[in-house]
Amino acid sequence: MRIVVIGNGMVGYKFCEKLTAKLPAGAADVVVFGEEIHPAYDRVHLSEFFSGKNAADLCLAGTSWYGEKGIALHLGDPVQRIDLVNKTVHSYKGLAVPFDYLVLATGSAAFVPPIPGVEKEGVFLYRTIEDLEMMTAYAPKARRAAVIGGGLLGLEAAKALLDLGIADTHVIEFAPRLMPRQIDEAGSDMLKDRLQQLGLTIHTNKNTVAITGEECINGMQFADHSVLDVDMLVISAGIKPRDELAAHAGLQTGPRGGIVVNDKLQTSHPFVFAIGECALHNDFIYGLVAPGYEMAEVVATNLAGGDKSFTGFDMSTKLKLIGVDVASFGAPFIGPGQGRTLVWQDTIKGVYKRINTTPDGKYLLGGILVGDAAEYNMLLQTVKNKVVLPPDASEVLLGARGGQHSGAGSGVASLPDDALICSCEGITKGAIAGLVQEGCETLDGIKKSCKAGTGCGGCVPMVKDIIEDTLKAQGKLLRKMVCEHFAYSRQELYDLIKMKKLYSYDEVLDELGKGDGCEVCKPLVSSVLASLWNDLVLAKGNDTAQDSNDRFLANIQKGGTYSVVPRIPGGEITPDKLMVIASVAKKYNLYTKITGGQRIDMFGAHVSDLPLIWEELVAAGFESGHAYGKALRTVKSCVGSTWCRFGLHDSVSFAIKVEERYRGLRAPHKFKSAVSGCIRECAEAQSKDFGIIATEKGWNLYVCGNGGSKPQHALLLAADLDSETCIKYIDRFLMFYIKTADPLTRTATWLNKMEGGIDYLRNVVVHDSLGMAEAFEAEMQQLVNNYKCEWKEVVDSPELRKRFNHFVNAPGEKDPQVQFDGMRDQKRAREWK
């Protein structure tokens, strides 16, 4: 039997996977045609392309997989004609392949509304890797961008534009509210507020009538006669099923598109099936991946001799990525008389929750969550499994009042074993728990053995909870373990290392761990050791347990050279010191750049030159800037009252004082600070881990801000402090962070996860609710006293200097593979392959 599959998207691939798993090897001859050049990839997580994933990361299975399964895969070769009479497909490259069964998995395309000007340069769609590559290439030219469409995909596209660096991004929605298919008006209003805080500008009730510009887009015109200047536009106004091939072959299609199928997913021709986003079942196109996977399961089962039907699917969804939780599940909207609705709203935190129950209040029908969707999975399961609600239904939204509500973990426990956890792969709670009992105790293990959590990923938190619950039920001790070598969390390790007074990685591994360590626990333990004792990170025994950058006290660059960043406290530097930097950079042929942290970075240093460079810098009074460490980076300052006509206090002096106090301090992640001389905030203190702003009466101290990929403003911890109190509070704040944060967690994320949030933190730091304030201050003073410039120590030690060679058997010789190109009178690293 020969089965031809048209379309190698998510569903087409899933069909191949399921079919080959169900059929004995050699039972069918499978031929797949894909129009895109990439083998099927994870379109659901397409936006992660902007957070560093590439086509290979998103790939569902490499071409070798198809080979192993005996599937002939023709990529970049779309089918152009189906001949139903001779049961043959004809491809673009001229292949003619006869079939016994044909499976159409052609998916859908972005729907492009007929607006004049859509063809202009700078107008993009958001569907394929190519679309994203084109957007990435164009984005640097754009200053302001817009997205047409305020639905699930449109908001994802808008976030992508922000991630591409276009801070001024607008969302244009035709309907009166955002995500009109998923959420109600009150939810939309809340979402709108939150998105505007992220930097998006939202326009609802806005109908685009024209796209203007010569060749490239330069603006948009709307039905209300308003205009918007934009130089980049993404259209995400819905999807259009790819039914053109089917329609041309004479298969029945719907009036608004889609290939008509029955419960067996058969088209009007019994040997031709349609699955995924191209299929129109019961007048409905399912624009989500889970129903598509279920369709693949149905057709694969039936072709393998089984009997299954497709009878519709739940359309619950959760929005990923945008930085605001949004979810809609079950029946999000119900009319009067259909049941009862409960709404909860917190306009300060920006949270909106709505649940709909049956008229008797016994069962949950569905709901909407905006701003906080932590309960999404639980609520969805409550709907699907018809779990009886507590007498006071509000408890499912707000938690039991008694205070003994024990979170999601107990929630999973209440579900029956046949509760469907991963709807993409059709995996039940019982199946996952069974695997855990058989010894498959990690998320990765579960993903590998049954694929749960590998589709849309929405069930991952529940899978984790089930693993935890099952392990707990087996009496196994549970902790957030660092890695396979340490059965402790970072916080536990910190306390144990301190109590047992351990000073090197090997001692810690011998006393508290097992095996030989790895690239996860080594830097983590090294960072804890440094936070506790502030000994030289390169001391013998600790050197090779450092992250590569810490081991060479410099950031590694493309090509294997390093960067040199001397500390320039507060950004203040004398002309003489500038000249030293200039002469060093010239002598060692380094690329120089002013950094975003108010100092100077010199790039492209050979590893064997590092000690020589630093020898000169140290001699001129420079110190390490710790640009490589999870440590204090810079304390930026504005010029302040010494020169500025608005300055209230001397922000530069205070910034230098703060920077010198905390320089070299190791923490779970890097941390940054800034001091502004007045509320105009030229030093951007409110985007820092801790920021200080002068007031008439003293200093305001802000904490837990973050730039980076998820910017977050810092929150006011205490106001009008004198300098001494301000430093005290920072001491306490930093020690508390160092002791309790998870590895690689910036202060903003740490606070976001902290129960009680800023109020709790304020109680600890300002009101000393833990009774630890004095200890924190004393520990910090100890670390401050132990500070030494690590580069000075290396420069002074012949033993340590020896480690800075590329070749052990040819000291001083440079890596001949390192290559540079010229650029604007300086050099740059040769582009890697």
Binding site: A56, G62, S64, E484, H485, D506, L509, G515, D516, G517, C518, E519, C521, K522, P523, K540, G541, D543, T544, A545, D547, S548, N549, R551, F552, I556, K558, G559, G560, R803, H806, F807, V808, N809, A810, E813, D815, Q817, V818, W832, K833
Partner: protein
């Protein structure tokens, strides 16, 4: 022709044991090639692999952190933390398209030798 496999290996003196930090690596220059040599003192073992990371063609494996995964010794590239087995060089981070070449190592007295198979040594001379 029957040759005993040990006869096919040329042992090349790379450095002394003290030259390589405990539980760390160094890069050894061998003709025009670079070899990463590891002193896995915790296991009392030595390993050698190519220094070139196949992921982005970076000469960096010797600067990577070593450790183990389920008992198997491994090294993590400092660039993107792909990990490779020190025993057979295969990629342990799920990328079966790339792997490292491994070399035998022996220690005699305080000297460390890396084994280069003869045909390889020859082909490099001829190349």
């Amino acid at each position: 022709m029957s040759v005993n496999s040990t006869q096919q290996i040329t042992w090349f003196m790379a450095c002394t044991t003290a030259d390589v930090p405990e539980n760390g690596g160094v890069c050894v220059k061998y003709q025009e090639d670079q070899i990463a040599l590891f002193n896995f003192s915790r296991r009392g073992e030595w390993y050698a692999t190519q220094n070139l990371c196949p992921h982005r063609q970076q000469m960096a494996i010797s600067r990577g952190m070593i450790g183990s995964q389920g008992g198997e010794p491994k090294v993590a590239c400092p660039f993107h933390k792909k990990t490779f087995s020190l025993e057979d060089g295969r990629c342990l981070s799920g990328d079966d398209t790339c792997s490292l070449k491994v070399y035998p190592v022996k220690v005699e007295g305080n000297h460390v030798y890396i084994g280069i198979s003869d045909d390889e040594a020859l082909s490099e001379v001829l190349a």
